[in-house]
């Protein structure tokens, strides 16, 4: 049975989840920007870093204003510390992306690092024959089908954040992360060699 939650607390938790998710997305995107030598992705990380700073301040203000009792102070300290940790992770991600933003061509070792890590990042293009075309991200269920998560989509010159109702088009580049085995499945779906299972 879920304990009853007061409204301000629910909001605090929601913000903390957002801080955590954003910091992890930034890490994935930062490593991807190295692998692909992509300035655009690195800029996306930088934009998220700014958003993260705002979110974090908002979160801390919410915690401080929540009017907790003195016996609850330890619980709230836990929340604040978690928030600080997500902020530090986000900073580290931004540092990785700045290697690309400073115009350094990432050293081949850095690309190898990402390719050889357990969780890898890949980029695939949706071909005109692919069964993904015209379907929404929610409906194609890529995590279930391939074990890969879409981190970002590049359509022409635009970078799009993956939202569940986004419809995939031919020519889209999907940046996805997951275990190395999933990469092949995603490649085949995007190229049209395999079709989605019903």
């Amino acid at each position: 049975m879920a304990p009853k939650v007061q409204k301000p607390f629910a909001k605090i938790v929601k913000e903390l989840v957002e801080l955590k998710d954003t910091s992890e997305l930034m890490m994935d995107l930062a490593y991807s920007s190295l692998l692909l030598s992509s300035r655009e992705l690195a800029e996306e990380v930088e934009a998220l870093e700014e958003r993260m700073d705002n979110l974090h301040t908002e979160f801390e203000l919410l915690v401080l204003a929540s009017g907790f009792k003195s016996e609850e102070s330890k619980d709230f300290l836990g929340l604040i510390r978690l928030g600080v940790a997500t902020e530090n992770i986000a900073d580290a991600a931004a540092e990785i992306a700045r290697v690309v933003l400073r115009g350094l061509e990432p050293h081949p070792i850095l690309k190898d690092m990402i390719k050889e890590a357990e969780e890898t990042v890949t980029r695939v293009q949706v071909s005109r024959k692919s069964s993904l075309i015209g379907k929404s991200l929610r409906n194609v269920k890529l995590p279930e089908e391939t074990g890969m998560w879409v981190l970002a989509i590049r359509r022409g010159k635009k970078w799009i954040r993956p939202k569940p109702n986004l419809t995939l088009k031919a020519g889209d580049f999907l940046i996805a992360s997951g275990y190395a085995e999933g990469k092949e499945d995603l490649d085949k779906l995007a190229s049209g060699e395999n079709t989605l299972s019903e």
Partner: protein, 202 residues
């Protein structure tokens, strides 16, 4: 007095060091959140242990990078490697801070746990005792995922970490298994690892 071990130079490929630092720092984040949310002292200790290990790797990596640069051009090419290694180190520090909450008994509210884990999954640390039926079997034949819904994501064997072990990896007495799964599954794994349950379910 603080006593920190001197870290000696070892010739190691920078690429291997980086791969290990990246894998470990990411594993540490998962472990640390789990330690903090489930108030697990044991998991937290593993994270702190890993943090020291990542620090050592960072030193060795920096020494190897320094030696690899022969001129200004090399230095410019390699500085990015050094920055990324520092970032991975920083991520592992953040993970250690999260784990420290469990050590200091700063409890994170259960609501946060529910909000963080969309699926009812948790991480567990299970030490394999000599009389456990897991000893001497490889992960493939154990089929822990099929039998109890748990996935072994890492094994610590003394000072060595094996991340995402292959099916051919044989479990030894004294191994620390880090596994992910549903609450009843991870509980079952702990019982089997400590030897108090002597058979695997179907």
């Amino acid at each position: 007095m603080v006593h920190l071990e001197k870290i000696e130079y070892k010739p190691m490929p920078v690429r291997d060091l980086l791969v290990e630092m990246k894998d470990l720092s990411e594993l540490m984040i998962d472990l640390a959140y789990s330690a903090a949310l489930f108030h697990s002292h044991e998991l937290a200790e593993e994270v702190l242990e890993l943090e020291t290990h990542v620090d050592t790797l960072a030193y060795i990596l920096k020494m190897n990078t320094m030696l690899a640069a022969r001129d200004a051009e090399d230095a410019e090419a390699l500085v990015g490697v050094s920055m990324v290694a520092s970032a991975a180190d920083k991520i592992s520090d953040a993970a250690a801070d999260i784990a420290a909450l469990a050590i200091r008994e700063i409890h994170v509210h259960p609501i946060v746990r529910a909000a963080f884990s969309k699926v009812e999954e948790q991480l567990v640390r299970a030490e394999v005792k000599p009389n456990s039926i897991l000893v001497g079997k490889n992960l493939g034949e154990l089929e822990l995922a099929a039998r109890m819904g748990v996935d072994v994501i890492a094994i610590r064997r003394k000072k060595n970490w094996i991340i995402n072990p292959e099916g051919s990896e044989v479990v030894s007495d004294g191994d620390i298994l880090i596994a992910r799964g549903a609450p009843h599954g991870v509980e079952e794994l702990q019982l089997v690892a400590e030897g108090s349950v002597q058979k695997l379910g179907d």
